[in-house]
């Protein structure tokens, strides 16, 4: 019964990618040696006063860095660091920690910490720290949605959240700021998870930013197949065309998946084999009004309307259908049974309508 309930929620306003594409990382963290030039850690502190800090410990994509690698069973340590950073650089700000509601031990630890924390003078006991639970459904950790769900504030897609006094902090950056700016230690490594069907094994790598992608992957890629490499996830990430490209401090993860550019016999019986490859899994058709895209859209848009505008050659007209609300999560293209390039169409329409 529980299984059924989960599957029902899968398609409504978001997609549970973690259930669909389970990715298991091996537990050991591997250090990648690199002797070339290394970027030093640098965090751009916002000019405006920060009122809310949001730290997201709930990855919604299976290929994202798992919490375990950051916390390493020392949640209190991490929260102490967070509190030190907050008190030092963003005084009087509220701190919101978002965790998945399935991780009960983590929630308990956070509650314990909250109860025992020494409160700074401006706040009552532990009140600066707020705990939020969230379902790990893609794309609920997108800036627009996370700010809306936690603070109830509306921000536009692509807007810099620091203008509203909201700072979205990457957990790794918390540790970075603590070590580099407060402890004045050397901090030059970053955890990058690599995963996908193009690899022999899913690993978490400890890399110095500035290392080329090729250097990171060369020990792990499968040599018997064609593969493609993507940065920052498969749904709205970018493809790495040139493998000598260097990773930087904003890189979140690397996914390598198999390139299926040949025909497969009887695809209906071999769906699992085709999953997690670049295959389109079907033929391009016209829109059949199946309503999959507006069921799955996390911000209640009707993506097929943009496609109708696009196919009629009226790209500018797409703005009449609340185009500016789109957060470009890519779920509409992902689910479309006619394999329409809806995300590409939306980007083109945005370019024609708003000039960006």
């Amino acid at each position: 019964m529980v299984e059924n309930k989960k599957n029902k929620k899968v398609y409504k306003k978001g997609f549970n990618l973690i259930e669909t594409y389970p990715v298991k990382f091996s537990e050991t963290i591997v250090f990648v040696k690199h002797n070339g030039q290394v970027d030093s850690f640098n965090f751009a502190f916002p000019d405006k006063k920060v009122e809310h800090i949001i730290v997201n410990l709930c990855p919604t994509e299976p290929w994202a860095l798992p919490n375990l690698a950051i916390l390493r069973n020392r949640t209190h340590d991490f929260l102490n660091k967070l509190e030190t950073v907050r008190a030092e650089y963003f005084p009087d700000s509220h701190c919101h920690v978002v965790v998945s509601h399935q991780e009960t031990t983590l929630v308990n630890e956070l509650n314990q910490y909250k109860a025992s924390a020494n409160s700074p003078p401006t706040f009552a006991n532990g009140e600066y720290l707020h705990l939020h639970t969230m379902e790990p459904v893609y794309p609920y950790d997108a800036p627009v949605l996370i700010v809306k769900n936690i603070l109830g504030l509306d921000i536009a897609f692509g807007q810099n959240t620091t203008e509203q006094g909201i700072l979205l902090l990457d957990p790794q950056n918390v540790i970075g700021i603590f070590e580099y700016y407060i402890k004045k230690n050397e901090f030059n490594t970053r955890l990058i998870p690599i995963s996908g069907t193009g690899l022999k094994d899913n690993k978490i790598l400890k890399v110095k930013p500035g290392t080329p992608v090729k250097r990171m992957l060369e020990l792990y890629v499968r040599t018997d197949i064609k593969y493609r490499v993507f940065l920052d996830g498969l749904l709205n990430g970018t493809e790495v065309k040139d493998l000598t490209q260097k990773i930087d401090w904003s890189t979140k993860n690397i996914v390598v998946i198999e390139e299926r550019d040949y025909k497969t016999l009887f695809p209906y019986t071999r769906v699992n084999e085709l999953l997690f490859t670049t295959s389109l899994m079907g033929e391009l058709r016209r829109c059949v009004y199946c309503n999959f895209c507006d069921d799955i859209c996390p911000v209640n848009l009707e993506p097929a309307l943009y496609w109708h505008c696009y196919i009629r050659g009226e790209k500018q007209k797409a703005r009449t259908y609340a185009l500016e609300k789109c957060i470009e999560c890519g779920l509409c293209s992902f689910i479309c049974p006619s394999k329409l390039e809806l995300l590409h169409v939306i980007k083109e329409c945005k370019l024609a309508s708003f000039g960006r």
Binding site: T264, L265, L305, S333, P337, E341
Partner: protein, 366 residues
């Protein structure tokens, strides 16, 4: 066993690759048969297209599976019950004629002439519809003509994603106009009870009887609801066994292939409107549950009206579409000489769905 299957698969794959290479290296052969090869190959193998724009992984659901699920639902919904009621030799020749004329004549000629790249699998669905809403004793050539008109019509409009009205119903409309007596006669009495080999093969003797709706129009008698539910009354080939149609229809709704709003709105509005009319006007109007369970209403609500492209895109529009269908159906059944009005209701609302969509968009995005 597994190994032999694997061997056969590799041989098949290699041969298909060889044929593909041959066709692409000979321009004249490619001009004539390239499209035909692509079309049949598309039914056996997946495409070699890969994602060029983000997102780089895609869901495994495609239009082929979408139509395949409808085909499976139709098979269990009406083909199997019809074989039980009317016999193998009644159902299967009709299906064969429908498919041969529909897919392998009209569609193949269309693929070669119009140089379409593929056979639209939506055509199979249309071909399965045609025998379902004709009487069990309709002549075979009538089914062939119906299938030909329907598939030709859907190809002229452009196939999947271009249909203005449900092509199967359009074919049925043409048959009603051209052969008005043939589509409303020959309602064979189904065989009931424990089936024998003979009844499964040939059905019982060709006794005909008017359908419950016609009987009601003439004498005012209603059949028992249980008999209507399990399909022991006369009716078109595919519409009588309502319980199977309801089960498969609900399965389609759960799979999100048929939108649940349309059957709910259609059946609900028929029930409410006929209840209102029979309360206001008394015995001459058909009672609500009899209305729901007679004629092709269940079949149409779950399979015809939910044909995705001919309804509106917006979800609110689907409610209006369903309610409109229900209103027209009840009005035709209750106030005109015709016993059945589902075909006209769905065709009219198919045409009206375009303005409904436009108006709803104007209201939603002011």
């Amino acid at each position: 066993m597994k190994k032999t299957i694997k061997d056969i698969k590799t041989i098949l794959n290699e041969n298909l690759n060889r044929i593909e290479g041959f066709i692409h290296s000979h321009p004249k052969v490619n001009f004539l048969f390239g499209a035909l090869f692509e079309a049949t190959d598309g039914l056996i193998r997946s495409t070699k297209d890969t994602a060029k724009n983000p997102p780089f992984i895609r869901s495994s659901m495609d239009v082929k599976q979408y139509m395949g699920a409808i085909l499976a639902a139709l098979f269990f919904g009406w083909v199997l019950p019809a074989i039980y009621f009317y016999g193998f030799m009644c159902v299967v020749p009709r299906l064969i004629v429908s498919f041969v004329v529909g897919v392998f004549v009209v569609d193949l000629i269309w693929v070669i002439l119009a140089r379409e790249e593929r056979i639209n699998e939506g055509g199979f669905v249309t071909c399965l519809f045609i025998p379902a809403f004709l009487p069990p004793q309709a002549p075979l050539w009538l089914i062939g003509v119906g299938a030909g008109i329907s598939i030709l019509f859907r190809n002229i409009l452009g196939g999947v994603g271009h249909n203005l009205v449900n092509p199967a119903l359009f074919g049925r409309l043409m048959l009603t106009i051209c052969f008005p007596t043939m589509v409303v006669s020959g309602w064979q009495v189904p065989s009931t009870g424990i089936p024998t080999i003979e009844s499964l093969m040939y059905g019982v003797d060709a006794v005909t009887h008017a359908t419950p709706l016609i009987t009601f129009k003439e004498t005012g008698e209603t059949a028992s609801f249980l008999s209507l539910m399990f399909g022991v009354n006369t009716g078109s080939l595919g519409e009588t066994c309502r319980i199977a149609l309801i089960i498969t229809g609900i399965w389609l709704c759960v799979k999100r292939i048929a939108n649940w709003r349309i059957p709910v709105a259609y059946l609900g509005s028929v029930f409410i409107l006929s209840a209102i009319f029979s309360l206001m006007l008394g015995e001459t109007m058909a009672p609500p549950i009899f209305q729901l369970l007679s004629g092709g209403l269940i079949f149409a609500a779950f399979f015809m009206a939910t044909d995705p492209i001919t309804t509106t895109y917006s979800q609110a529009g689907k409610w209006i579409f369903g309610i409109g269908c229900g209103l027209i159906t009840v009005v035709i059944r209750d106030f005109t000489q015709m016993p059945e009005g589902i075909m006209y209701a769905i065709l009219l609302m198919n045409l009206l769905s375009v303005p409904i969509q436009t108006i709803l968009l104007k209201v939603k995005y002011r």
